[in-house]
């Protein structure tokens, strides 16, 4: 018997694993019929999930934490047993603004710290406080942008204006001059570059080399009540993710995502992020960024609790939530490595032995303890070299308050 599942998504490249699971038969093999519900705002995706109009959602990881902590409208305990991808974001700024930065875009992207300082200097030269589009207050994009700006002494709440708008409206807003730049998931940055409106200033992958992006989120009560369906879904997604990571499939994947019912943008633009071939300025040769977007390798989908806690630490840092042990525990518990392990126990997915790790500590590919198979973790450094120890959140936060 086939089980019907409804999953809400936003038109973005990192809905890829869900799309592949449906279109390439991985879900069907597990007896699941996936209905993917296209949604144009995070608010509506959140409401559909919280009020039970869909079973699961392709959700910004920080939003899943925020909803659980009661920071985003109707509070609801959410659970994320699977990461749909890491990296994949791009900060683009109007070409006029970018003129004040390193002109060699390759050098610019490979030195995020230098570029952050150039950016800080460029703010004073700009005709107004730069208006930067972010997709949501509780997005990995906003958190990463804040982290990056602050490293150069820029106060993201005072020195720039962060304007919230959904990814699909970013290019239009650039054209209308309503924003001076934006950070969003692909293909929207590439679309702005291709239209000659903007240049790439930074890529998520260079700010945090393995940055948490979208998770697959469920209501906790539904997740607990439907272990069998959930396990089948996760097994389908793991196979779909391996398919998505395979370069040989990127052409077919880009064609799938380009369909009007999914991302509805040209396959050529979508393929840039999948292939890690980033065109930073219209007409220039692409810059190779092999880790621009990951779906499967290095156990990418594994929801490390330490990553939920890193997100939490950033919400505390920017005064979006107060810090205490109970709140931290609640935030950490949104990520569900236990469910991931149960579902994929008999699969080929290499399985980390631990549920938490230091974030930002791996400089070179590192073989680590795994319950099965070979597991190599890729470099996960933050560009400023900080390391997040989930057991020492206070100390980590104090580090940001130190005099500059």
């Amino acid at each position: 018997m086939t089980t019907a599942l409804k999953i809400a998504f936003l038109p973005l490249n990192d809905a890829a694993v869900l799309v592949a699971a449906r279109e390439m038969g991985f879900a069907e093999q597990q007896g699941l019929s996936l209905e993917l519900v296209r949604t144009t705002s995070w608010a509506t995706l959140r409401d559909r999930l919280v009020f039970g109009q869909v079973h699961g959602a392709h959700m910004l990881a920080p939003l899943a934490v925020a909803v659980t902590l009661g920071l985003s409208q109707q509070p609801a305990a959410l659970a994320a047993p699977y990461k749909l991808g890491v990296n994949g974001n791009m900060l683009v700024m109007a070409s006029d603004f970018a003129r004040a930065l390193e002109p060699d875009v390759g050098a610019r992207l490979s030195d995020p710290l230098g570029t952050a300082h150039d950016f800080a200097a460029a703010i004073g030269l700009w005709r107004r406080k730069p208006v930067i589009g972010v997709v949501h207050r509780f997005s990995s994009h906003a958190i990463m942008l804040r982290y990056w700006l602050a490293s150069a002494g820029v106060d993201p709440d005072k020195d720039v204006v962060l304007r919230v708008l959904p990814p699909s409206l970013t290019v239009e807003a650039m054209r209308a001059g309503e924003i001076d730049g934006f950070i969003a998931g692909e293909p929207w940055g590439s679309a702005a570059v291709e239209a000659g409106l903007a240049e790439t200033v930074a890529t998520g992958e260079r700010i945090w080399r393995r940055g948490v992006e979208k998770v697959l989120a469920f209501r906790e009560s539904w997740l607990e009540g439907n272990p069998d369906i959930l396990d089948r879904l996760l097994r389908a997604l793991a196979l779909a993710a391996a398919w998505c990571d395979d370069r040989a499939n990127h052409g077919a994947l880009a064609d799938l995502l380009a369909r009007p019912s999914y991302v509805d943008q040209p396959a050529e633009l979508i393929a840039r992020a999948l292939n890690g071939q980033i065109v930073a300025r219209a007409g220039e040769a692409p810059i190779a960024s092999p880790d621009f977007m990951l779906f499967s390798r290095e156990a990418t989908p594994f929801p490390w609790r330490s990553q939920a806690l890193w997100i939490y630490s950033q919400l505390v840092r920017w005064n979006m939530v107060g810090h205490d042990a109970a709140t931290a525990a609640k935030a950490g518990a949104v990520f569900r490595p236990d469910v991931f392990r149960r579902a994929l126990a008999d699969s080929d997915m290499p399985m980390p032995g631990a549920s938490m790790k230091l974030e930002g500590a791996v400089e070179l590919p590192l073989a680590v303890g795994s319950r099965r198979g070979e597991l190599t973790l890729g470099p996960d450094r933050f560009f400023d070299g900080r390391v997040f120890d989930p057991d020492r959140i206070e100390e980590f936060l104090a580090g940001f308050r130190a005099p500059r």
């Binding site: 144009t40 509506t44 409401d47 009020f51 109009q53 109707q74 304007r163």
Partner: protein, 193 residues
Amino acid sequence: MRIVIIDDSGLRATVLEEGLREAGYDDIHIVPPRGAFVARLERMAPDVVLMDLGSPSRDTLEEMLTVSRALAKPIAMFVDQSDEAMIGAAIDAGVSAYVVDGLRKERVKPVLELAVRRFNAFAKIQAELEEARTALSDRKIIDRAKSILMNQRSLSEQDAYALLRSTAMNQGKKIVDVAQALITASELLGGGL
């Protein structure tokens, strides 16, 4: 009670406004979600904001409600947070609402219920229009295929139609699809018409 409707579609907003006025609400404003709509909304200081759930600008609006004081402690509402059927109806109809905290539920509920009914009515009209448009173009396609058959095979109009219909039935297809295939084939073969 000041009600602001944020809507991309002028027609839907008008349908909703009309309904609200009939029900006795008279302080109603329509704001399209473009340009500096957030600043406009802030100046209006509404008690209730109604918005199309499908509008991509909902995130922008929510952010504004979080950081500004346009609505004191605004809460998103789906009519009655404890009534799951009503929430489903509101989401299906595509209605989202933000309400000043403290405004009594009994006062807001009729507004939201009315919005759900009007949004549904509007969606139904849209669907009917679409259906009518499709029916019209279907008829044109069938007419063209009929005249091809009448010319090429010297059939009467009735027989041409009967042939299309029996072919469709035999192939398990819609008449309009068979007609379309015939037109395409005829064009490829240079049959004119």
